[in-house]
Amino acid sequence: MTTVKIIKFSPEKCDGGKACEEACSNVHFKSDEGGDKSALRIMEKDGSYNMSVCNMCGLCIDVCTVQALKRLKSGTVVLDKNVCVGCQACVGFCPRGVMRKASDVITPFKCIACGSCVRACPNGALELVEVDLDEVKEVVYHKQGVDE
């Protein structure tokens, strides 16, 4: 487990059509509505587009008291709905704000690097790339230390 797949975005190719969000919400909720039901979000800002999605840093793993969050052998960070107690600690602590909570569902959800969004984009603005795990890894708590 030295690498992990994450989503990469090329803003110059994006036209704001959000086919990716629809595909993502289909994966997570069998719904086409995108928006707050999508793990990946496209946001317009000053005429161009930003994308936000999980980068598999793994920080959230350490805030979950019930160990519902795990890093799989592939490096992907996943949430086990059968163990999760819906506490929202991971949602609040995610440094990128990409552990999300959809309305009417207590369990949060996140990107699972399945690539559906990549396939759905007609402009090729998204790709699944392999990065070094050490480059993305972040750990909560122990780096904080105490001031002397």
């Binding site: 019930v66 929202q88 600690a89 609040g92």
Partner: protein
Amino acid sequence: MSGPEKSTSKEFEPHTLKMPDGFETGNTKHDWDLAAMRAKHRILAEYTYEKKKVQRGYTGRTLYVNLSTNTIEEKPVSEDMKKKFTGGKGFDLKLLWDGIKPTTRWNSEENEIVFAGGLLCGGTQYSGTGKCLAATISPSTDIVCDSNAGGYFAPYLKFSGFDALEVQGKAKEDVIIFIDGKAGKVTIETAPMEETNAHLVSEQLTHAYADEDTETARQRVAVVSAGKGAEHSYWGCLNISFYDSRRKVARLKQHGRGGLGTVFRDKKIKAIVTKVEHFNGMTNDPADPDKMAAVAIKYNKEMRDLDKSQCNMRTVGTGNIVEVMDTYDLLPTENYRFGSFPKATNLHSPNFYKRFTQVIPDGCWHGCTMACTKAVDGFTVMTGPYKGQKVTVDGPEYENTAGCANMGLWDPDWVIEWNFYCDTYGLDTISVATGIAFYMEMYEYGILNKERCAGLELIFGNSEAVLELMHRIAAGDRSEFVQVAGKGARRMKDWLIQKGWGDHELINDTGMEAKGLEFSEYVCKESLAQQGGYGLTNKGPQHDEAWLIFMDMVNNQIPTFADKAEALHYFPMWRTWFGLVGLCKLPWNDVTPLSNATADEPAKIPEHVQNYADIMSATLGKEITPANLIEMSERVYNWQRSMNIWMGRGTRTDDWIPYRAMGPVTELEFLSRNNKLWDYRYDKQLVENMGFSKEDVDKMHIKDKMKHIYDYRQDRYQKLTDAVYHRRGWTQNGIPTPEKMRELGFGDETEMLEMLQKKIEEDESAGLNVWGGNYQGDEKPPNDDVKYWKE
């Protein structure tokens, strides 16, 4: 404030254990035949109940267990009960009122231990929603003592189907009460083989009662236990487990104050066990789960962004304030004689940080991102029956470390050792520390000595003697000293006086107890408001009603008697509210939101108060305002006060505090702060507050200075009492009037109302309905009308 310069400790090495892969505590493993132990259980009573879902935070019924008669039944919770008592501690008090008599004492057959969470308890979203409120008639105070603890028990009790558990009567042999929330069954079982001490029995029962051999299954079991120390002293506490799936240890949180563990063992309860099925943030059935989650997420982001630079609770827990208290001369050292000490730097939080295992979410209930519950893993026990074993020790929290400062124990490893044994023996760290610190001071003066202490050399700093005393208490040592010592500071005072050893006044002034309960660990000599926060309380000198030292002494925000009285009305009511709904207070003010910088009343943390009103609204599905929260508390608070009066306490004399809490008792203490380093604290006060000229003071003998300060401070405490009783709408003797109780909604409780009326009439004939302060010159009592409370 001024004080000596502090040197800070250095050489800090972060303790980085690899997580989550391959974490090992290194603790001693036990080889128990759990099946054989369980096979020895005899079922004494069994009760099957209909499983019901929680509705908007309530299950609508409570569980009643009688160990004398082996009866188990359920009682409905009426709308009236919810309206008047809200839940949690309110339910505890209501059930106690129905179950006991004014003459009930801690070891009476009819005394009860009642446990309740509250309507927000068990919600997993907002931080600090797992608190259990337990109450009983205390061996230390002879009135109701309530105490809260984290851990998984209260949420699991509710998920099992009950808003409260009431245990009455006494078993003939050691028993376990098992509440199987999965099967819908309650049993009383004998338990002859299991251990009594908490760290072992919690481990045994967690494994024995888990559905399967998985971490998740073990996390769904919660155990309540006490320990051997609780059996032989009045200092008994209760341990509530919360199974940590990373450490693979049943960790422990404590209901510390007031001897709950003593009553528990007197009833021969070895443990209470609950087991539940899968649950999540919907199990408490909030009306608006999205709103619940939104408020929680907002709060969690605040914690993520601000905690590190504010209290650093997530990293060192409540121990972060040891250094703050030390700096402000508030850290009790050598029985509250001093508020700071050169060696105290040894106990500053960086020294504990090195010992705490990091990278584990240390909340005592799910969803708490403040996560203050730190732990030391693989600690090698140095003394006693577990010497040489490796264990996980929860804490030490602020009170425990500060308690060690009070006994002059300056080595962090001994703090951990002491903390471990307090917990596993089921002894309240606060009472033990404050009690022993007093015995040590008596030893220093020769009032106690080695012979009188059954061979123990109780000098300040003798950690081995402290541990030895605890081992002897737990072993049931029959020597007179050990017997009295375990009953606490009040009984020790009586014993010393009865023996004719030492000066009565000195003994009474230095033993830090009020109402029979030992003080918690803050020096309040220079904060009149905090003296009231300790003395003018329902259960005894515990800071959970009010912590006003900074507002009062450091920031000077409440200068007048009326200001202090207002704070001593608002904060006890506000803090009581947490206990009605099953919440932890720390997430309220141990992180400060950015909005506080521009808030009108920053001490209240208005944004967080609004959060609480919001999560209560979201749970109940109706609009609740911050003012409503205070109304709920005022009802319960006055009810508790009235129950104290019903039991023959709860008047002005009961609200007395020893002089050590108000000012310097000894010349050493006086001189230690009346010098250049401390800006001649007392001389300055004689001039600035008490109207003496500088020349007078320079000429004055130290004994006279101390006498003036003594009289002045005693009178100020009486004046504060006048102002607070007035603000709370009580008579001058501290009695809530029937009119007040009716206004709060207790119109139908005739027995209580008549009792109060009778007491007020008795006080009238005894001449007690008069102001206590000596008002002179421009000073005025809080009201010209002495009978103001009649309206």
